[in-house]
């Protein structure tokens, strides 16, 4: 049949659906009447008496009403009409039982909302590919250390890779840098990425305004150009549409703005706010200074494996040519997505999604329980309907329609809640926790999935009640007053549901308890510094202003003394990184007198450049020897203070004082390492936790400290210990600094407390979220237990009355009821424990100093859940004690 015929047929069906039903029926009745009359006439003609003929025709005709219905059904809209009447009926019931409806919708909305919120994060971070064309062709490239870890790249290695490879369509180096913007208001330190010209080609992203870099801009002299993020273009430059070509001053040099990146893209959320060309100067041309990161786009048709093989060959070739710097160093090529989404975040998100899914399931079980309890009330109604000829499938469909309606309501409410949850979590989210590429929002995918989950949950929670509710023993249900043993099957089903709820919430509770225990250990660990009243700030000192190391060290000394004279300041020190923010530099070292090791094979440590007053300022205790002091200047003996881990790891059973550690010099103003300097150990300090982006706060890392006089560099920060809340001194410290140099940018002013809080923020976030979910789960399970126990008490009032009348003591009855209920809880605990044993193992990598099978945690979680469950049975069980046999039995 062709389309027009189909369409006109559909039109006729529609006319039947919407046409006047009474006229249709009237006409049909008239048609039938004629038919019957003519039939009677025919039979009379055959010789039958009139009344006999009437009867025969009537018999033959059958039920006229049924026939009318059959004709009506022929129009093909029966399903819709049934659906409409089911929906009308469901709506009526939903409106008539506002209590049940609001509880059901609220339960669903909470579960669905929490799921939607977490799912919006999972969707943005884990499911959406990177927002670039052919994202699977983008890879991250780095040096591969002998132990398999990835390391930043030295300039000459990068240039060799760039020249020799045939597997990358584009390869771009990235250097992280900070520049000082002057010329408009207060000097401002800005984070920038210095990138190869091909950077935006690797990503496949163009400028929104102007252009991105051209190939020639990678050369010194042509590199004074800058591409802005959309955010800073709007915030700092007023969103000026004619900005292209404007000159700005960065680190006292003129730069031309050539482009603005797209709005609301990852460039608005990433660390850097500007992109500058990366031009290598002769000073950069070294092989032993590792400072570059790289990304690349694979040539079309080249697989990751082929690229790895090719780069392995290239890396081996370089290592053979330059063994002193490159022996054992390979090339790491990995999917970019694996670098963007770190395994810890990936795992945290999946754990949270599973947890929230479990909460949803528990809510679903509760709703099923509630519906079952209602099903008992409705047994009579269902029995009458089926006695009148309703088929079972039809009844199930009717009951499910109600649940679908509840599911839709719950889904809509859940969307609203989920949207609020999501925005709340985004506000609360520590910065840098999500990759900048992740754009968390309620997109259509999340919307659709949320509604589907809502409706499915509605159906799921109605399925068991509908199946058991439509299988009533007709005769029994219709008999007035049939009850007592009624609903045995639903009761068993309710028990199963509650056992499942207890099991699921136990899994969640143990998971949450483990994270809480781990977080407490992490948050209370000894950081090795006294964080009260200490302020840290960055003081970028660009090479363009300080070309000479003596000028710089004199300047830094002057700054320190100026700030020290600010009233309220107790102590102050220069450092290249504030505590718990990682290192500015790492170093490979050799202890003098031990076996010689070629450079790449040497062990590594943190290399911290500080002012002599650093340990006093941050409160790190000296364990042995002396501290650094003002005498440790450029032309004096190079000395170092090492931390406890360094002493314990590399000077086992020896006194480190007086030993000399060989570390290559950081050449001032050059991306280069000079010859080995023998740093003489003069003291040992207690470990200061390193933290930062690379290390977790809990890790103990060997560190050596030297003075900035003996190893000057351009990355400097200031730590200030105050006698009061240090944030109050903020302004006067800045004024003191600007008295020395009015172009000195002061950036990232934070207290050590804030830094510490941030460094445990991801752990805190996942802990709090999981704890909330576990709390909801336990609460829901308690409600479930409460419901089942009150139901069974209500059912057994009669039995209790007889027991009491026969002399049972109320306390005994209480024990009877609670004992039965707690058996159910224990079964749930046992099942949940088994599941948790397997499932909490996935948490292992997220735990600090806590084993997934930590006994205390398990016992506490189990006891807590059992106590809540006991309370949930006790309240309704008391009712069994209060049964008055006279009242209960008089009802007979």
């Amino acid at each position: 049949m062709d389309l027009t015929a189909k369409l006109s047929e559909f039109g006729r069906r529609l006319r039947l659906l919407f046409g006047p039903r009474d006229r249709f029926e009237r006409e049909l009745a008239e048609e039938m009447r004629l038919h019957r009359d003519l039939r009677v006439r025919g039979m009379q003609a055959d010789g039958l008496p009139k009344d006999e003929a009437t009867h025969a025709a009537q018999r033959r005709f059958g039920n006229a009403l049924r026939l009318q219905e059959q004709v009506h059904e022929a129009s093909g809209w029966l399903w819709l009409e049934n659906l409409m009447s089911d929906a009308r009926y469901a709506l009526r019931r939903v409106r008539k039982t506002p209590g049940f409806t609001s509880i059901a919708v609220l339960t669903l909305a909470l579960g669905v909302g929490a799921t939607a919120a977490i799912f919006s994060f999972v969707n943005a971070v884990l499911l959406k590919p990177l927002p670039y064309p052919d994202p699977e062709r983008i890879v991250s490239v780095g040096e591969k250390l002998p132990d398999g870890f990835s390391n930043p790249i030295s300039t000459l290695n990068f240039l060799d890779w760039e020249r020799q490879n045939r597997c990358f369509q584009f390869l771009s180096a990235i250097a992280l840098d900070k520049v000082t913007l002057t010329g408009s208001g207060r000097p401002d330190q800005l984070n920038v990425h210095r990138v190869s010209a091909s950077y935006f080609k690797v990503l496949g992203v163009g400028a929104m305004l102007g252009r991105t870099f051209a190939a020639s801009e990678n050369e010194v002299g042509n590199d004074r150009e800058v591409v802005l993020s959309n955010r800073i273009w709007r915030s700092r430059f007023g969103g000026d549409p004619k900005i292209i070509g404007r000159k700005i001053t960065l680190d006292a040099k003129n730069y031309t703005i050539i482009g603005v990146l797209p709005a609301n893209s990852e460039f608005d959320r990433t660390w850097a706010v500007m992109w500058l060309p990366l031009a290598f100067t002769p000073a950069n041309m070294t092989r032993n200074y590792h400072w570059l990161y790289a990304i690349a786009r694979l040539e079309p048709g080249v697989t990751l494996k082929q690229a790895r093989d090719q780069m392995d060959t290239i890396g081996a070739g370089i290592a053979a040519l330059y063994p002193d710097s490159n022996k054992g160093i390979g090339v790491a090529v990995n999917s970019y997505i694996d670098q963007v989404v770190q395994p810890e975040l990936r795992r945290s998100l999946w754990v949270l999604l599973a947890a929230v899914g479990a909460v949803l399931l528990i809510g679903c079980a509760n709703l099923a329980n509630l519906t079952l309890a209602r099903g008992t009330d409705r047994e009579h109604e269902i029995a009458i309907r089926s006695a009148l000829g309703a088929r079972r499938l039809r009844l199930i469909r009717q009951l499910l329609t109600e649940n679908i309606l509840l599911g839709i309501l719950g889904g809509v409410a859940g969307l609203a809640l989920g949207n609020a949850f999501m925005h709340g979590m985004k506000l609360w989210l520590p910065p840098d926790m999500l990759p900048p590429q992740a754009n968390v929002r309620m997109d259509y995918g999340v919307l659709v999935i949320t509604m589907v989950i809502g409706i499915l949950t509605g159906i799921l929670s109605g399925l068991a009640p509908a199946l058991s509710g439509t299988r009533p023993d007709l005769a029994r249900s219709l008999k007035e007053g049939a009850r007592t043993t009624a609903g045995l099957t639903p009761h068993r089903m309710r028990t199963v549901l509650v056992v499942a709820e207890v099991a699921l919430s136990f899994v969640l509770l143990t998971g949450a308890s483990l994270l809480i225990r781990s977080f407490n250990r992490l948050a209370s660990l000894d950081t090795g510094v006294d964080t009260t009243n200490v302020l840290a700030m960055d003081l970028p000192t660009p090479l363009t202003e300080f070309t000479n190391s003596t000028t710089l060290t004199n300047y830094l000394r002057e700054l320190t003394e100026k700030v020290r004279s600010v009233p309220g300041v107790r102590n102050v020190a220069i450092t290249d990184k504030p505590p718990m923010e990682g290192f500015a530099n790492g170093a490979l070292f050799l202890i003098e007198g031990r076996d010689y090791l070629p450079y790449p094979q040497r062990p590594g440590c943190g290399f911290k450049v500080v002012g002599p007053s650093y340990f006093d300022t941050v409160g790190t205790r000296l364990l042995k020897g002396r501290s650094l002091n003002e005498g440790d200047v450029a032309d004096a003996l190079p000395v170092t203070v090492i931390n406890e881990t360094m002493a314990k790891t590399y000077f086992k059973g020896e006194d480190p004082i007086g030993k000399r550690i060989l570390i290559r010099q950081l050449v001032f103003g050059k991306a280069e390492r000079g010859p080995d300097i023998p740093w003489q150990v003069v003291g040992v300090v207690k470990d200061e936790k390193v933290g930062g982006k690379v290390f977790s706060l809990g890790e103990d890392i060997p560190v050596v400290y030297v003075t900035f006089y003996q190893s000057p560099g351009i990355r400097n920060s200031l730590v200030v210990r105050a006698a009061m809340n240090p944030l109050l001194l903020n302004g006067s410290i800045e004024q003191a600094i600007w008295k020395v140099n009015k172009n000195q940018a002061v950036a990232n002013i934070e207290t050590l407390e804030e830094i510490k809080t941030q460094s445990v923020a991801p752990a805190r976030l996942r802990t709090v979220l999981l704890a909330i979910f576990a709390g909801i789960a336990v609460l829901l399970a308690a409600v479930g237990i409460y419901g089942v126990v009150s139901y069974s008490v209500a059912q057994r009032v009669h039995e209790m009355a007889i027991r009491l009348a026969l002399g049972a003591r109320p306390g005994g009855l209480l024990k009877l009821v609670i004992g039965k209920a707690m058996l159910m809880v224990l079964v749930g605990l046992a099942l949940g424990g088994g599941a948790a044993l397997g499932l909490t193992r996935v948490l292992a990598s997220l735990l600090y100093d806590t084993s997934p099978t930590d006994r205390v945690t398990w016992v506490v979680a189990g006891a807590l859940l059992a106590a809540v469950a006991l309370l949930a049975c006790y309240i309704p069980a008391r009712r069994a004690m209060r049964v008055d046999p006279m009242v209960a039995l008089r009802h007979e």
Binding site: A5, S8, E9, R12, R13, L16, E27, L28, E30, E31, M32, L34, H35, D37, L38, R39, G42, M43, D46, G47, L48, A56, R60, F61, G62, R66, L67, Q70, V71, H72, E73, A74, S75, G76
Partner: protein, 114 residues
């Protein structure tokens, strides 16, 4: 003479449309009872059209556009709904007839004594 019920044979499934279509194409315009009557007479009372299948079938034919219905007046001056074939109905009859013929021929050749 009233016929015993046992002689009422079921109309083979699927052929009711064909019979109705054929009646309408032969007589042009018929109401429901006339259709039933014609089928009964032409089959010498072997095929009995049940009201319970006739009217739903007519309704479906109206929907499919094989027939149209028009209220008219019978010889005895009673209102009756008269059915009439459309072009699509004529075409459908041909389809049904050829299909039926093919199936009948096939069945006959199967059951013919060798």
């Amino acid at each position: 003479m009233p016929r015993p019920n046992a002689s009422r044979d079921q109309i083979p499934p699927g052929t009711l449309y064909m019979l109705i279509l054929r009646m309408l194409s032969r007589h042009g315009e018929l109401h429901g009872f006339e259709i039933a009557k014609c089928i009964e007479q032409l089959s010498h009372d072997v095929l009995q059209v049940e009201e319970g299948s006739l009217y739903p079938a007519l309704q479906r034919m109206l929907i499919k556009g094989w027939a149209t219905a028009q209220w008219g007046v019978t010889a005895e001056n009673r209102r009756a709904r008269y059915y009439r074939l459309t072009a699509a109905g004529h075409k459908q009859l041909e389809i049904e007839l050829s299909q039926f013929g093919r199936v009948m021929g096939a069945i006959q050749s199967v059951i013919q004594p060798a």
